[in-house]
Amino acid sequence: MASDVERAIEAILMVADEPIPPDLLAQVLEVSTVRVEELCRELATRYAVDDRGFQLVRVAGGYRYQSHPDMAAYVERFVLEGQTARLSAAALETLAIVAYKQPVSRAQVSAIRGVNVDGVMRTLQQRGYVAEVGRDPGPGQAVLYGTTPLFLEKLGLDSTDQLPPLGEFVPGPEVVEALEYGLRVDADGEREEHRDAGDTSGEAPSAEG
């Protein structure tokens, strides 16, 4: 019978998308770091004994699940055959915002899309289409992102100046202002949704981009 702490470790590591340091686990689970490490070792052994297709490993100062190296051939085939998917609509929109608004912070992109974009931004960074290009000089010192030479290469462009002009479809500053006003005073549900975008000051995108 698995203990609750053990099960909690499994649950947390299953949804984490980066290695979780044992002391963080210890803090959340209110047990000692030593105990966490002990339990993680036990779990890793258990998965090995049970001959699972995944492993619990310690990397980069933390624990994470990963596919078993024995299964690499299948995973590779899955990646090659399966992921025929192009950029998702969400990823494309996010990429477009970074392209037209760069340099831009993650919070600003979130504010425009109205949803959290952390996962998508990470993917775009991983693919090398987007990279950190600096920091906001303002108080928050937010990381600013821009597109990469690889991105331009994929589009067959020499520079971002060659991106197609946006024309008159971009809402003017008054619309953006009204929009932000709307976000601020809207009904409960809406406010919730945009709350995490609200803490970034100066998120009003300038009309000229």
């Binding site: 984490a16 025929t84 192009r86 990429l95 425009i112 996962g119 197609p164 809402p171 619309v175 009904a187």
Partner: protein, 258 residues
């Protein structure tokens, strides 16, 4: 932005009507016309920033209700137009059907909410590919053109909520049947006999006229006024029957709370 604040404010005219008929522990046959109309007016007033579409819907439903209600309150007459009668029944059936449909989806949405709450207790693994496999992934930007990128951007920045129309300069409607009754009870004993047209001559808002009409009907129901209409659509003469000092507040309050 559409008017969509949740409870205790109502989300729409159906919502309110369902509430009035089903949820209030009020014997429905005792809901007075003024209760219903006041509830609708109250909602309209509460919509601080007035959404015209919603307000219109509220008024439309309120109008149908008022029609049903007045039909019930006024004495039946022999020369009732059969077509009109049928039309009213049709309207009622339509309203009933819409209410039932609305109620169905309301309950369905509660079931979806429960499903979603259960599902929310589990979090999906979204870690994605380990670094060692990243190089394998095919070119995700294949097929993405500059034009598509532009289209995606325009879609992303398209105004989401509709900019709010500033209606602060529009005076909120502050009419309630109850207030109108109080006014009339003050005014009518002095006038004794007056036509409806004269009684409402100084009212600019159509809604205020309607409210006053409803108040007159309510007084008629109470037996405090007599009504006389020479011809269809002709002016209505109102005769005060309550005596000079008929302070009817108590009676009326009772009627409202019923």
């Amino acid at each position: 932005m559409a008017y969509e604040v949740a409870t205790p404010v109502f989300e729409g005219p159906f919502d309110l009507l369902l509430h009035l008929i089903l949820r209030e522990q009020v014997e429905i046959w005792d809901i007075t016309l003024s209760t219903i109309v006041d509830a609708y007016l109250g909602e309209l007033t509460r919509m601080g920033a007035l959404d015209l579409d919603v307000a219109t819907e509220f008024l439309l439903i309120a109008a149908t209700l008022v029609e049903l209600k007045t039909r019930r309150m006024l004495p039946g007459s022999d020369d009732v137009d059969l077509d009109e009668e049928l039309a009213l029944w049709e309207e009622r059936d339509l309203l009933l059907a819409r209410l039932l449909e609305c109620k169905t989806f309301k309950d369905a949405s509660a079931a979806l909410q429960r499903l979603s709450e259960a599902a929310e207790r589990s979090f999906p693994r979204r870690a994605g590919l380990e670094d060692r496999f990243l190089d394998l992934t095919p070119d995700l930007m294949a097929g993405v053109t500059a034009e598509k990128l532009r289209a995606a951007f325009l879609k992303a920045v398209a105004p989401k909520p509709v900019p709010r129309v500033d209606l602060d300069h529009v005076a909120p409607i502050r009419a309630s049947v109850r207030d109108a009754i109080d006014e009339l009870a003050d005014e009518l004993p002095r006038a004794g006999r007056i036509t409806f047209r004269r009684l409402t001559a100084d009212l600019v808002e159509r809604l205020a006229v309607i409210v006053r009409f409803l108040a007159v009907l309510e007084l008629f129901k109470q037996g405090l006024v007599d009504l006389d209409q020479g011809e269809r659509f002709g002016d209505i003469e109102i005769v005060w029957l309550g005596g000079e000092h008929a302070r009817l507040d108590a009676d009326l309050v009772d009627a409202y709370e019923g």
